[in-house]
Symmetry: C2
């Protein structure tokens, strides 16, 4: 008995999100450097919940209101007025366990709100830090999937595309993929899989250059490592919680 | 003496075009299957000029007004009301020499008008059919370049990205490339260069599937062949002419 496989698409930039009908899809928000890696890490290390917001002011306002940790970046640096940044290393369990984090980032949290406004059936976040958890969830749900790359100010980037390719590499037999962006992502991941960091460096990826100029090579390496934070961040009623 | 190299960027979809300041750039319109391949072929075979228009009605109106050949497609087929389609094989010199062609296509001619409206410094069209002519022109001009892929209804496609990669492969030493989309295009072209048609087939590129379902594999093969129409289509005062 043959069953129809659910469709899988990849959106390489937030500016392309509205090309896809996501009303019955699970949307995977991908912002490898570094929002979704940090989200997985903080939840894995015991954060109670993460409230993604799309502006610094909103972050400060909510942080005060509920006495939560405010964190976020603009252009790769801690945003003015916020307490913490967007590095997974800032959120060890000794610091984050049991706490609520209010987070805003240049690209990732904005994209999450776009997906919400576009009527996504369900929203989760993905990164190499929790790739297996993401893939297991998508397999188990067996629904249409949109892999949504946060990119950089709408410009396509290598690392989010690589993560989309990595997911496709694991799920391609179980989903119907008629999507050139997905094929391109998979092809690039296959080229890069041996050493993602070296690939990013060799290709002079723009985010590699940006973060390494801030001395954050360690962050890049960590965010390109598989399954360091094996949790599923699930968006429910305004919050990301462990799924 | 070191000189600053001009910048080169790649826009993978018309929906991303407005991320780039093109006021001092040469914009290369890329619609490999099949608009820009057909444009190069028709000009190479002696067409006097090609008037790209963005709607079928406008195509019919201008065609009547100047007694020109009207041609174009919507969704890969000859558009209703027009005389000819979007296949390079429809324009041998025995037919097209000395004539004016008014052309509208799903993606390519629309993108050309977007680039015009966005204030492009100069517009040319590129395809594998005239890749060397394009590269020689860009080298000679030594100005910033935007490789603008027409894609398919704003969804990124493999063939236009491959062409961008092919151009970058030839020009990368002479331009400054800090653009992930360009690196991704180049990486994919390097994988595909041995046999572009087999690559498109193996990746089940959406346009490969669409055109081959219409029996147009011959068109695909032709449009993926280098330098079959060595001319430079240059946009001037509403017309594409031999540069």
């Amino acid at each position: 008995m043959s069953e129809t496989k659910p469709a899988l698409y990849t959106s390489l930039s937030p500016a392309l999100l509205n090309l896809y009908d996501i009303s019955s899809s699970i949307v995977v928000i991908i912002d490898v450097l570094r929002a979704t890696s940090t989200i997985a890490t903080a939840l894995c290390n015991g954060a109670k919940e993460i409230i993604p917001v799309d502006s610094v002011n909103e972050c400060i306002r909510i942080g005060r209101q509920i006495e939560a940790i405010t964190a976020g970046e603009r252009d790769g640096k801690v945003a003015e007025g916020l307490q913490y940044g967007n590095s997974p290393f800032e959120y060890p369990s000794s610091f984050i366990a049991g706490k609520t984090l209010v987070l805003t980032t240049t690209n990732g949290t904005k994209l999450l709100h776009m997906a919400l406004n576009n009527g996504a059936h369900e929203i989760i976040t993905g990164s190499f830090a929790n790739i297996d958890a993401v893939c297991e969830y998508l397999l188990q749900k067996n629904k249409p999937v949109l892999l949504a790359c946060a990119a950089w100010k709408d410009r396509v980037n290598i690392e989010d595309t690589l993560f989309a390719g990595a997911v496709i590499s694991k799920l391609k037999q179980q989903f119907s993929i008629n999507c050139d962006a997905s094929q391109m992502a998979l092809n690039m991941f296959d080229d890069a899989a041996k050493d993602l960091f070296e690939f990013m460096k060799a290709k002079q990826a723009s985010h590699y250059l940006r973060l390494s100029s801030f001395g954050l090579e360690k962050d890049i390496k960590h965010c390109l490592t598989f399954n360091t934070a094996p949790v599923l961040p699930l968006y429910k009623q305004g919050k990301l919680i462990r799924g």
